[in-house]
Amino acid sequence: MDNFEKQIAPFNKLLDERKEKINSGSTKPLAKTFPVNQLAERLHPEKQFLQIYKIIEHGNESKSFYFKPNKNLGTEHLAYFRAGQYLSLRMHINNSYVTRPYAICSSPSDAMNDIYVLTIKLVKNGFATPYIWNNWEVGTNVEASAPAGNLYYQPLRDSKYIIAIAGGSGITPFYSMAKSILEGTEDTNLTIIYGSRTHDNILLGDELEDITKKTNKVKLVNVLSDENITGYEHGFISAEIIKKYQPADDYSIFICGPDVMYKFANKEIATLNLPAGKIRHELSGNFGTPYNELDYPEYARDKTFNLTVQVRDDKRIIKAKSNESLLIALERAGIEAPSMCRSGECGFCRSQLISGKAFTPDSIDGRRIADKEFGYIHTCAAYPLSDLTINVPIHDLAN
């Protein structure tokens, strides 16, 4: 045997072994799925088909919708979640395809029993809630995302004591947290400081009271802005009120509520000098207008621009108002565009800016560094400053 043959022999042996192993492989069909992949589908399904089985009214302005999985459409079970997370609902309203993020009001244990509850407040001059009021009834099918969002108690990150600051329907994620503390799925202490205009505007007040009676780990402070009643704090949620009810020296603040409350509370909280990371928010799509941003370029105010939208090989030119996000422009035009958190954060609406200029307010700019560098935008948090062209991925989940 010459030298090369000797040298190559172990390599040839390896190849022979490969051949032999493959030839003696089984011909049985390959597995289509595995337990870990099934766990992923249960925890993070691409979409969930829900059906309303009960509706409870809270006064004239709010309703709780009880959902079960719609097995006929393929949803066997509802996905588990962490108290504080939201669902993004997908709706077809008139000619628009829209999404709306709603925090889940029920608890993770309820989800294990295939129940979600969404408590929604009617916004009379809004777009989605009047539709919901007019159309949703027992038996209505609703399509939702998997649970998403980062406003939940993380024991390695958050203090053992949480102060929840809520306004209006922003109470819902905290109701879920309170309920899961009572049920023993979350091990933390929650002080809810809940701002409402009047006593009658308090949402889920009795239900929350009830929880505070059953566990001393949940406390409730109602703050009324338009009424002065004994036993209730009066005014807006201020640093003073937070300090008055702070449960311990070390605490985290979670905030969820309308834009106005959010901005006020943020200013107050800033005076408390908490370390970064101890203050966490869920904006739930309530950003408001870009015009109030300090660095908003005045020249674009109150303008309407031409927005050229490329989706795969199709191209359309639509109108985009400077005070509305590009996502809303897409939805107005009936384009099915991806979106989820509607607060700049999740990146589900990531699209490519081909030409033109868009404004992304700093406070909701959740883009990755490279996306800024290479001209990508989150349409839910981008406002047009000129005529522009964008490349939007299809929203195949809505197919």
Partner: protein, 509 residues
Amino acid sequence: MKTDYDVIVVGAGNGGLIAAASSAKMGHSTLLIERHNLPGGAATSFTRGRFEFEPSLHELAKYGSADNPGNIRKIFDWLGIDIDFKEVPDAYRVINTGKDGFDVSMPTGVPEFIKAMAQAVPGSGESIGKFFKIAVETAQAFSEMTTNPEQIDMKKIAKKYPSFMKYGTVPYQKVLDELQIPKKAQEILMAYWCYIGIPGDEFEFGYMAEMVVSYVALSAYIPVNRSHEISTALINSLQKNGGKVWFNTEINKLIVEDGAVVGVRTADKDIYAKQVIMNVIPDIVYSKMLDSKDIPVQEIKKSNARKIGTSGLLVYLGLNKSAEELGIKDYSTFIDDNWDSHYQFDHMKNIKDNGFFIMNCLNVANPGCSPVGTSILYATQLFFGDSWDNISPSEYPKLKDKIAEELITRYENATGINIRDNIEEIEIATPETFARYLRGPEGEIYGYFGQPWDQMIARTMSFVKEDEPIKNLHFCGGHGYLLDGYSSAYQSGLSAAKLANKKLSKETV
């Protein structure tokens, strides 16, 4: 035959990105289709609060310096990828927290590495010197073999690199024994096994030695703005050369006509192409995207003979103190209480006592990666995905928090550095997370496990023969001929593009 594109690439992971960008660069009309809304697969990033985290990359191999470029830098240059990389300052630190434990930091540069080893393990100098002599030759041979797997000349390689011929196919551990390297030095030299997930006593010397040399001699690199920057730059390159990308698009089926793949089917349309490159593990393609009548029996046998590779668990930490304030000096720290790689490997099969992990501090290699006064740490463990089989949805969140806490505790105990009081952001990825985003079977992140007959040498030498299991169909990715890892997947993408190109060129002649 109607065709919409010359080349369709399915999957925008590292392999698919390079395959698509390269096809476009070679002048072919190219469509890249990706299920997710982002490019990159594992090569992405995510933001939490003030931090943008690196999800998966530890060390990009074969990038090299401008003066001494590695294969990957050459490919990036060719594709016009113009982004900044940082050289990882040191090789690694190994802490053995068990009996006869040790704590050693190894530098880059072969002479420096040998010197540090001689200090850590007196009397190891000579054997380590021998090791590197063989390893460097092996690395050269490997590079020649794997750069152009479509034209391997073993005679030439044998002539130039006799050491490679002698040791290449022998298990790494066995070679270290043969060289009489002291046990402690062997343990230190074993650290990188986890990047491929093959224990040292099964890992062919050729590949493992090549990896050691590549990191120690050429250094490792990381992109300044996380892997998402590389992936986005590759999309940019694809588009500049006339290629297209469709995100959020799932391929349900490969269209086969007369025994050849002629296109792909999405939810709403069929798209035809002359060549199709799949950056999807063959198991998924064969179980979900093809009718059984169209799949060669040999391919089913091959998939059944192979083993699914490992998955992982990562804990990402955004800390509200800087690395300096915390006293962190090392980029990569490998920690376990037992440094027998087979022991470590065996413990990847259960959740309870999987001891081996790596802690990275991104700021050490990339100081500006997080705001002033903060730092990014991430811990990595390997787990076989099936070790998570019996976890219920309601147990899942608590389990991942528990494992994260254990890792933090073990890091604190091993280094004396306090982490838990400084956590501003935390995220935890598990085999479930990888199953969700990457969709591999069992949440694999390393493709197929490298059984001896299914490691780099056997795969590389079989590469051309095993290409096109069905006419016009090629594969690339971390399950490819170079096994897992960014540089491996990139290289496999280029090779797939070359094979497709060859077929397309033949057609026009």
